[in-house]
């Protein structure tokens, strides 16, 4: 399954990795790698990392603020001493072997010294030469001396040599005069760097659809035809219009918007036959945001198929369409025309053959994802193969390995994909690199150091308050400056201000400066939620020489501006209250001692299917022991039910090889016919009882992976089970691999999609069934080209390169007919044994009946019941019984309980290659604590005041972790906390009869102060 790992010939394995591309995938891979003990050279073509995600306003399916979830990662990458960020750089050559490559990098001059630049922006202010602002899609101008975007990492400016007057004509040079820091370097030169790296991860992202293709839809000709990227910037608070959707022609709000899909995708005319996978969902997102911006405007979306196949996507889409009151039309308008009295004319034909035309104010083109502009050059430099569409060539069973050993590929360059899948692949590639370079682990990394903590115990509270606009997420509802102003009036506050994005790198710098300048000793940030952003601000606190416990967050976004969007006054009052309560608590915060706990360097994986085995192997390859627990007699799981992949290979061969690798691996212990009986402990120190048919085994392990899988939906509809002619796709797979795949007389096959899925019994799309139907149709056609095949579907979700199969199937004569959910096909089994299928044909506008010699039901995927395990581990599951990941975008394979991870069908339906990448990602993430060797839990433990303690033992009796014990001292009994075991729940404090126990950060004084501060507002 993996690129074979050469026996670690220790001396020459280099403990560093080069990551090419600083978008979300590359940055995530870099962060994961340093956690795993490897140094990273992050090579970015542009002037700053962040990639396309930094340009997005929001991200689907949650419509979370894009920059807010990306910025903490960028900041972390920027401050990680083991990540070297090389901007304006590209890979030009790669020689050597896996484990020891020499990479040649060409680094263009910035003309402004990164080390010296303070990011003040004076150079831009004085620069005479205007250029287009590429970050804002050239909808506004910037200057030759500029920064890509204000939250950019590195937070340093650079000069565009193509535009600069000094560099081209030896005039001007004003920036050098204006720069107080003296950072301007007109004599800066291109550098060629030579780096020794053990492995390479390519994450260059995607390219744009050419202007020529876009011009067919009037882009460039009509001002009010815009790209989705332009629309994204118009919606964004930091965009050219400050977050207003305006027509470029007249600066007016459009009242009628059309979204056109599949621009430059699924289009043979432009050579992009594949589906770009993300545009359906991003159009839904953009439509939802357009609705937020204007509750009145008319919004129409034109789809060929609605491909919203990701986890939770269908539910998000349905809600968006319903609540946003969108008009959804299945059609592909071929062009956009201008009409004399203003407006843009669209003409389209619907499936019933009728023609329509209508005028719109604004047309948004949902452009697809193309291979990166210089894909061929990059492939040459890196020595890898490309597929016909110039994306990287990978295989189903090694989805992250490029054709050259030691080179990995992730993100959109591996195939068009969304952010969660890109982040997942990043984690997977990091795991593979870590496995490949295991003998070099830690050889090139340094430990991050922080300044000594200032002792503030004798100081009066000096609180700083930072109130975040979060673009328009908070600022669009809550009057942020008024909240900051109010904060200034609160006791203990010596400084308060507001920021556009509190989590960006420039703000972190500002926070540190402000802490020093005003000698702050406590920090309150009013922004999103501590659940995602507290670690970032705490790291900043440590950089400023303060203990991380001197921090408090007021949640004024997730629990305020987002839930009171139409009540700005009330939301502002609520935000003020939240800030007042946080400040009140902050006054009582004290520095808390940190503790380090050892980690048992091993993992336990539940589930021995493709996901479980892949992750077990990826962990073992990194040098950690793994216990693999499988319920059945044999390893292999449901993949064994598949007899061919879409390239004609037999997956069972690969599975057999994997099983034998696992069985023989010295680091892997397998328990089959085994189940988890009990789990206790926490990250780093789990103890699990595994019951096998023979014995009960107790396993100590540091982390736990859940790969409990899924099974095919058992249909009861369409007369399944009543006739041997009615099969599921999996049963057809089996038949196709058998001696007589198809009855001799068989003439007609009918397939029905979405059996059980998308709102039948299962509320979700099962993702793989469309691909499976296409694959099996082609197998049947191969077998017998004259066989009639009709596929009855709702949307053919042949995303990514699966579109090739869809086209091939149509070319081979397979008939595809869409059915409506309210008018499902009808199956009539005759007494004589014939199976008739009756359905509505929209093209003919009449009911058609076919006699099916074979009726194949494309049944969905049901997760194995997660309830017992979920209860044992205290991890949440979704209403659909899949495990709920910690964060859809940021932590797609982490579960909310530290040290637990999920992959495979237990996470959501997915294909084999996706499962493998995800399992490798879970393996990579799981190895973070194992590689670190220790954990530093939050210091929120209980503390007993021996003066007040009467030794009653109630705390000891109620503590769920045996973390508090009674000891004897001078004949009196006293309680004592075992800090290593304490998890900070606070039951002991709530039950102590003498109030002798208090909790770190959640002290009695602090909470009482919060309550009192609440009262101050309530009584007004």
């Amino acid at each position: 399954m993996h690129t074979p790992v050469s026996t670690p010939s220790a001396p020459q394995t280099v403990g560093s990795v080069m990551v090419v591309g600083g978008g979300v995938a590359g940055v995530q891979a870099a962060l994961d790698l340093t956690e795993l003990g490897y140094k990273v050279h992050l090579v970015e073509k542009s002037g700053a990392i962040g990639g396309v995600m930094a340009r997005l306003d929001k991200t689907f399916p949650t419509n979370d603020c894009s920059l807010c979830i990306l910025a903490p990662k960028l900041v972390e990458a920027g401050r990680d001493p083991n990540i070297e960020i090389l901007t304006l750089s590209e890979l030009v050559d790669l020689t050597g072997e896996p484990g020891n490559f020499t990479a040649t990098i060409r680094k263009q001059p910035r003309y402004i010294d990164e080390e010296v630049c303070t990011g003040c922006g004076q150079c831009t202010l004085y620069c005479l030469k205007q250029i287009g602002n590429d970050f804002n899609e050239n909808l506004e101008t910037s200057h030759a001396a500029h920064i890509d975007y204000s939250q950019a990492v590195p937070a340093s400016y650079h000069i565009d040599p193509k535009a600069c007057l000094k560099l081209n004509y030896d005039t001007c040079g004003l920036c050098a005069v204006a720069c107080q820091a003296g950072a301007i370097r007109f004599d800066d030169k291109e550098k060629i760097l030579s780096l020794q790296v053990g492995a390479v991860i390519l994450a260059p992202g995607f390219g744009r659809i050419s202007d020529e293709v876009m011009a067919r839809y009037g882009l460039g000709q009509f001002q009010d035809v815009i790209t989705a990227f332009e629309h994204e910037r118009l919606m964004c608070a930091s965009g050219p219009t400050g977050g207003e959707i305006l027509r470029l022609s007249d600066r007016k709000h459009p009242k009628k918007i059309a979204f056109l899909q599949c621009i430059g995708s699924r289009d043979e005319n432009c050579g992009n036959n594949y589906c770009s996978s993300v545009c359906c969902m991003y159009a839904i997102k953009q439509a939802s945001l357009a609705r937020e911006h204007d509750p009145e405007c008319e919004i129409t979306l034109f789809f060929m198929d609605i491909r919203t196949h990701g986890k939770g996507f269908d539910a998000a889409r349905e809600r968006a369409v319903r609540e946003g009151n969108f008009r959804v039309i299945y059609a592909r308008p071929p062009k956009v025309e201008d009409v004399f009295d203003g407006g843009l004319l669209l003409t389209w034909a619907t499936e019933d053959g009728k023609h329509h035309n209508e005028k719109f104010d604004l047309v948004v083109l949902s452009q697809g994802l193309e291979a990166p502009d210089d894909a061929a050059g990059l492939a040459r430099s890196a020595g890898i193969d490309l597929n016909p569409y110039l994306f990287a060539q990978t295989s189903t069973y090694t989805p992250l390995a490029a054709s050259r050993p030691g080179v990995y590929v992730i993100g959109a360059f591996q195939g068009p994909k969304d952010i969660p899948d890109s982040v997942t692949q990043a984690g997977g590639a990091a795991a593979l690199c870590a496995g490949q370079l295991v003998s070099g682990r830690g050889s090139e990394t340094v430990t991050a150091s922080f300044p000594d903590e200032r002792d503030i115990s004798a100081e009066e509270p000096r609180i700083g308050v930072f109130v975040c606009h979060c673009g328009i997420n908070i600022g669009g509802v809550v009057k942020v400056p008024a909240v900051a102003e109010y904060a200034r009036s609160l006791p203990g506050v010596v400084y308060a201000t507001d920021n556009l994005y509190s989590c960006s790198q420039d703000t972190q710098k500002l926070l540190v400066e402000t802490i020093h300048q005003h000698r702050l000793n406590r920090l309150v940030v009013a922004a999103c939620t501590p659940r995602t952003h507290e670690p970032l601000f705490q790291a900043t606190l440590r950089e400023a020489g303060l203990n991380r416990s001197l921090f408090e967050m007021a949640n004024i976004r997730d629990q305020c501006s987002w839930v009171h969007m139409h009540e700005p006054e009330a939301a502002t009052e609520k935000a003020k209250d939240a800030v007042r309560m946080s400040v009140a608590k902050a006054r009582y915060l004290t520095a808390l001692e940190e503790q380090q706990l050892p980690v048992t360097p091993s993992a336990l994986v539940v589930g021995g299917g493709l996901a479980g085995m892949t992750s077990a192997l990826a962990i073992a390859e990194q040098g950690f022991e793994v216990t693999l627990v499988e319920r059945e007699q044999e390893l292999g799981g449901r993949t064994l039910l598949l007899t061919r992949d879409r390239f004609g290979n037999d997956p069972r061969t690969t599975i057999a090889e994997l099983v034998s690798t696992i069985r023989q691996h010295p680091k892997i212990i397998v328990h089959t016919k085994a189940e988890i009986a009990a789990v206790s402990g926490y990250v780093g120190n789990f103890t699990t009882t595994v019951d096998t048919d023979k014995a009960s085994v107790v396993v100590n392990h540091g982390v736990m992976l859940l790969a409990t899988g899924g099974r095919p939906y058992q249909p009861s509809q369409y007369h399944y089970g009543e006739s041997p002619k009615i099969l599921t796709q999996l049963e057809l797979e089996k038949k196709l691999a058998g001696k007589q795949p198809l009855a001799k007389a068989a003439k007609q096959v009918v397939m029905i999609q979405c059996v059980g899925s998308r709102g039948e019994d299962l509320a979700y799309c099962s993702r793989v069934c469309c691909g499976q139907a296409l694959k099996n149709s082609l197998r049947l056609k191969n077998l017998r080209p004259d066989l009639g095949i009709t596929v009855l579907y709702r949307d053919m979700r042949a995303y990514g390169f699966l579109e090739d199969n869809y086209r091939a199937a149509r070319e081979a004569g397979v008939i595809f007919t869409r059915y409506q959910v309210e008018q499902k096909p009808e199956v009539i089994p005759d007494k004589g044994g014939a199976v008739r299928v009756r359905y509505h044909d929209p093209l003919l506008a009449e009911t058609v009946e076919l006699t099916a010699d074979l009726l194949v039901l494309s049944v969905g995927i049901v997760p194995e019941d997660p309830t017992t395990l979920a209860r044992m581990l205290k991890v949440p599951v979704t209403a659909k019984k899949f495990f709920l990941e910690a964060h859809v975008k940021l932590q797609p394979v982490d579960l909310p309980v530290d040290g637990t991870y999920v992959c495979g069908l237990a996470h959501s339906p997915r294909s084999m290659d996706e499962t493998i990448a995800q399992a490798q990602a879970a393996a990579g993430r799981a190895c973070h604590p194992l590689a670190r060797g220790s954990i530093t839990p939050a210091p929120i433990v209980s503390k007993v005041d021996p003066e007040k303690c009467i030794g009653c033992g109630a705390c000891e009796a109620f503590c769920p972790y045996k973390a508090i014990t009674i000891y004897k001292e001078d004949k009196s009994r006293k309680a004592r906390t075992l800090t290593a075991s304490c998890k900070g729940c606070g039951v002991c404090a709530a039950r102590c009869p003498t109030m002798a126990i208090d909790m770190g950060r959640f002290t009695l004084e602090g909470i009482m102060a919060q309550i009192k501060a609440f009262g101050e507002g309530a009584r007004q």
């Binding site: 419509n63 729940c985 606070g986 039951v987 709530a990 109030m995 919060q1010 609440f1014 507002g1017």
Partner: protein
């Protein structure tokens, strides 16, 4: 909603379930009335029984405590202990003549943003109908708040807390965590101390 009374509600939410549910309601842009103010705790087990009483004494019209579903506490059984504290609060409210509907303890898992919204919306509506603290009770608000403050102080005293310890012990031993049983245990074990307090 706008014409009716706008109640002041103070909430204590556990980090792992209800606080997360509240966040996910935000991410999903589910809207609810803006009356709730939130204090985050790691677990509802941290809830000192004096906190809700203190909240009412200091200006709240109602108190909400939100934790994980029974059996799903991140810390194993903290929410059962919260039920013990909650029973004492209800007991105290009864004795003070305060409508017990002003104090609610309920559950929403991390995955249940919409459920959290439903709970808060309904609770806000109910409390709005009750009006300001004291009005539905026919009691003078200022005097009531003073008595609530005294009750909060008493609940931090050893006598009542010893009763709670005994109730908790019995609850853990018996393994019946139904609200009714827990309330019964608290009423029984704290009766003497409460009688002394509320004469």
């Amino acid at each position: 909603m706008s014409d009716s009374y706008q109640p002041k509600i103070l909430g204590f939410l556990c980090n792992w379930c209800c606080y997360t549910a509240a966040d996910s309601a935000g991410v999903g842009r589910y809207q609810y009335p803006p009356n709730l103010r939130v204090i985050r705790m790691m677990c509802t087990g941290r809830l000192d029984p004096s906190f809700p009483l203190e909240g009412l004494a200091t200006g709240a019209d109602a108190i909400f405590v939100g934790g994980c579903h029974p059996g799903e506490c991140h810390y194993i059984d903290g929410n059962y202990h919260a039920l013990v504290s909650a029973s004492l609060v209800h007991e105290a409210l009864d004795r003070l003549g305060v409508n017990r509907e002003r104090f609610l303890i309920d559950w929403a898992s991390a995955a249940e943003g919409p459920n959290f919204v439903k709970i808060i919306t309904a609770f806000t509506k109910r409390v709005a109908a009750l009006g300001p603290l004291g009005s539905s009770e026919g009691l003078d608000q200022a005097a009531l708040r003073t008595r609530l403050a005294e009750a909060a102080e008493a609940v931090r005293g050893r006598k009542i807390r010893t009763g709670l310890i005994n109730a908790s012990r019995e609850m853990m031993k018996g393994g019946d965590f139904s609200r009714k049983t827990v309330a019964g245990l608290v009423a029984e074990k704290c009766e003497k101390a409460l009688n002394e307090l509320f004469v």
